[in-house]
């Protein structure tokens, strides 16, 4: 059995405006703890803001809370957000964004793009517990 304690941080936040800042505060501390470059921490924070507000807007979770987990793996910082909702269809979301932009309701729907551009790995899956967004920032 390892003597090293589990270094994960788990956070549960309510789906309330600006509560994404609780998650970014933890990202700040966790990034500093693992010695991640400050510019990379700032990029994680913006991606995390987008992931949280996407969950707040689209999750059909009855509990109206999201779970955020921070962990370190071999390559860097891993942030996972689980929204407890009913799942997410990425292709349907992309289609809706394209439709809105064509109708000129245009400047929304950038969240996923920002997440993909600011993080090094992004995986979005539907699980039995809702939509899971797993993002990795390399050291």
């Amino acid at each position: 059995m390892s003597d090293q304690p589990d270094q994960d941080v788990d956070l549960s936040i309510p789906m309330v405006p600006d509560m994404e800042l609780a998650a970014t505060a933890v990202a700040d501390s966790f990034g500093t703890f693992m010695g991640l470059d400050s510019d990379k921490v700032e990029e994680v924070k913006i991606a995390l803001v987008e992931a949280c507000i996407n969950s707040f807007e689209h999750s059909e979770s009855k509990e109206r809370r999201i779970d955020v987990n921070f962990s370190i793996d071999d390559v860097g910082l891993v942030v996972s957000i689980n929204d407890g909702g009913s799942g997410f269809d990425l292709e349907e979301a992309k289609t809706k964004v394209a439709e809105k932009r064509n109708e000129g309701i245009g400047d929304r729907g950038w969240g996923l793009t920002l997440i993909h551009e600011l993080m090094d790995e992004v995986k979005i899956v539907t699980t039995s517990k809702g939509t899971l967004v797993r993002m990795v920032k390399y050291r």
């Binding site: 600006d18 800042l21 970014t24 700032e42 913006i46 803001v49 400047d107 551009e117 600011l118």
Partner: protein, 108 residues
């Protein structure tokens, strides 16, 4: 509150430019544009975080300024926020200045 220097107005952004903050900025900018000050610079020296909804609201104001033959710029932008702006195409619509003095020099 905006600081008007000649025909250029500088507006300070708060620490988190979310949709609420962007709405306040948008109202202020709109009033300036309607009053004839169409060269606007958003000072991001205090801004550490932005979100895409807030940026989308700011894009609307940029478009309004351009429509009135004005311009919109940003100064004191952190590297991460600048990268975010580039991803969203904002840097094609607005100029980024290193600081307020440079913005003023270039816009006079």
């Amino acid at each position: 509150m905006a600081e008007v220097n000649g025909d250029v107005a500088f507006i300070d952004a708060p620490n988190y430019v979310n949709n609420q903050a962007a709405e306040i900025i948008a109202v202020e900018c709109s009033e300036l544009i309607d009053a004839g000050t169409v060269k606007l610079v958003l000072n991001l020296s205090e801004a550490k975080l932005v979100n895409s909804v807030g940026i989308a609201i700011i894009i609307e104001i940029i478009e309004k300024a351009i429509e009135k033959s004005g311009s919109f710029g940003f100064c004191n932008v952190s590297p991460t926020i600048e990268k975010t702006f580039k991803i969203m195409g904002l840097t094609q619509l607005a100029q980024i200045y290193p600081d307020q003095d440079t913005a003023l020099d270039q816009l006079k």
